[in-house]
């Protein structure tokens, strides 16, 4: 990014109280990751440049920094988003999705999860956290969640995921303990589908 690109857009729209807002966003992320399928609403106030949404923007501000290469999907990538992430977080752009610590994508057009870093068998934590912006966290096809963090099962119905999501998700789950972790964001609402969660259509037989 050239300095000429450092517009007023890049320097505005960050946390107004970075210490406490970052803590609040992280705590929401920790809660939704610990309880997959539950929804938390993020505090308002972050205003990233379009097309990066408010929710994904807040996640980026809370967790990204010079140590976390960030990858932007085509539909999110823009000079102003790059400039904003660079100024606000100091996060470098990843050379490719497989090199990213965080990736910001749109639900309908997201690349295959297999394109991202899934970690190694020795270090499965060295994997991409995929922040997926969807239309809504409800109103879609009913999905059943099972696994750690879920008492029995939980149902979700996010809208705006690609048709191949379930196949990708099953392939990702098969890599366990490797795999990418998914955060779904719609506006300021957020839920997590960490790699440990088994996702199935409600009309499919239950996971053993």
């Amino acid at each position: 990014m050239s300095d000429a690109r450092l517009s007023t857009l890049a320097v505005s729209g960050g946390f107004s109280d970075p210490v406490f807002e970052a803590q609040a966003v992280f705590r929401a992320l920790m809660d939704v990751t610990a309880r997959p399928g539950t929804v938390h609403t993020l505090p308002a106030g972050v205003a990233p440049p379009a097309p990066l949404g408010q929710g994904p923007g807040a996640v980026a501000l809370a967790l990204c920094d010079p140590d976390t290469p960030v990858w932007l999907d085509r539909d999110i990538d823009s000079e102003s988003v790059r400039a904003w992430l660079s100024f606000q977080c100091g996060a470098p752009l990843a050379q490719g999705p497989e090199r990213s610590a965080f990736a910001f994508v749109k639900g309908e057009t997201m690349p295959d999860m297999a394109d991202f870093a899934s970690g190694t068998q020795e270090y499965p934590d060295r994997s991409t956290t995929l922040v997926v912006e969807v239309e809504a966290l409800d109103g879609g096809a009913a999905l059943r969640l099972e696994g750690p963090g879920i008492d029995g099962q939980r149902r979700i119905a996010p809208r705006g995921l690609p048709a191949t999501f379930m196949t990708q998700r099953a392939a990702n789950r098969a890599l366990f303990p490797r795999g990418v972790d998914v955060v779904l964001v719609a506006g300021l609402c957020m839920m997590a589908l960490p790699r440990s969660t088994v996702v199935s259509h409600v009309n499919e037989p239950e996971a053993g």
């Binding site: 970075p18 210490v19 406490f20 970052a22 803590q23 609040a24 992280f26 705590r27 992320l29 920790m30 990751t33 610990a34 309880r35 809370a62 967790l63 990204c64 920094d65 140590d67 976390t68 610590a101 190694t120 068998q121 020795e122 270090y123 499965p124 934590d125 994997s127 956290t129 696994g147 750690p148 963090g149 879920i150 008492d151 366990f176 303990p177 972790d181 960490p194 790699r195 440990s196």
Partner: protein, 309 residues
């Protein structure tokens, strides 16, 4: 060295919760990965804290990274809120994060602990943060980190079973009573930190999130709520928790973990709740043990006889 002195006096200008923001982000990212891979030890760049290792620097860094102004913090050491270690960690967070503190288990949103899990069932929305000295359950069997990593990667846990079985061969039962290894979510063998094995069942399908921080060894790991935690055992030697022959001498509680307290130099002793808050709660609710002070004051003769043994 006094607790206050140990914490240093140069905390006049500190960051909220002591750690700088970049360190918090790094630890927060590690915590999220730890939750996503239950029982797996995530490496992190542990920072120097204003207290020596062994004082729970790992747990303190985890707590410092998750705590916010709305939190209510409880700190226990071996079940007690009033030991030097617990008091100074509580004071530290009061000073650097201005958070509310409590000794009541049910009032706390974050409970930092060394070596115990509270007797009272933990709730959703509570986070239990363990101070961990040695996070690697395979360390005593294999000193090389590269090798233990490989064993976890390949799910090669045979050695661990061999070790437990040697116990049985030598003692007739599994003699390990602390840091008793568990299998988390059917995948990773994990060290539950030096809690008594009595507490292992409380880790299983807990409503609370459990986070583990090892400062010197630079590891963070987690058990999400509602996660299967199984103590390793054998079909012919099933896992069993410690049992106590008598109830708590102060509150009469049974089925809780008791500490032995020496009363005099003639062999007088009593067993009391290790969880001081639980014991106080029960006494406040009117429960009495054989050595409750007010029982003694009331002049119940049998107290005299019992202590005279």
């Amino acid at each position: 060295m006094s607790a206050a002195a140990a914490l240093g006096e140069d905390l006049a200008t500190y960051n909220f919760a002591y750690l700088d923001e970049q360190t918090k982000r790094m630890i927060r990212r590690a915590i999220l990965k730890a939750i996503a891979i239950p029982g797996y030890q995530v490496p992190f760049a542990s920072r120097e804290m204003p207290m020596p290792y062994g004082w729970g620097t790992g747990g303190v860094q985890v707590t410092a990274s998750i705590i916010g102004p709305q939190d209510v913090l409880k700190v226990i050491d071996q079940g007690a809120d009033d030991t030097t270690n617990a008091v100074s960690i509580r004071a530290f967070f009061q000073k650097v994060a201005s958070v509310a503190v409590t000794t009541k288990t049910r009032e706390a949103t974050i409970i930092q602990t060394r070596h115990r899990i509270p007797e009272e069932k933990l709730q959703a929305g509570q986070v239990l943060v363990y101070q961990v000295p040695i996070p690697e359950p395979l360390r005593f069997l294999e000193p090389r980190e590269t090798e233990t990593r490989k064993m976890h990667a390949l799910e090669e846990y045979g050695l661990m079973h061999v070790k437990l079985y040697e116990d049985i061969a030598r003692h007739g039962h599994i003699a390990t009573t602390y840091a008793y290894p568990v299998l988390v979510a059917g995948r990773y063998v994990m060290d539950p930190s030096p809690t008594p094995k009595f507490d292992n069942p409380k880790m299983d399908m807990s409503d609370a999130l459990q986070l583990f921080g090892a400062g010197r060894e630079k590891r963070i790991y987690a058990i999400p709520p509602h996660t299967r935690v199984v103590s390793l055992d054998f079909e012919d030697h099933p896992f069993e928790i410690q049992t106590f022959d008598e109830p708590c001498a102060l509150c009469g509680a049974e089925g809780v973990y008791l500490d032995e307290v020496i009363l005099d130099d003639r062999g007088g002793r009593m067993f009391v709740c290790s969880d001081t808050d639980h014991c106080e709660d029960r006494r406040a609710a009117g429960h009495r043990g054989r050595l409750s002070p007010d029982e003694a004051y009331a002049g119940h003769g049998q107290v005299q006889e019992d202590t005279g043994r």
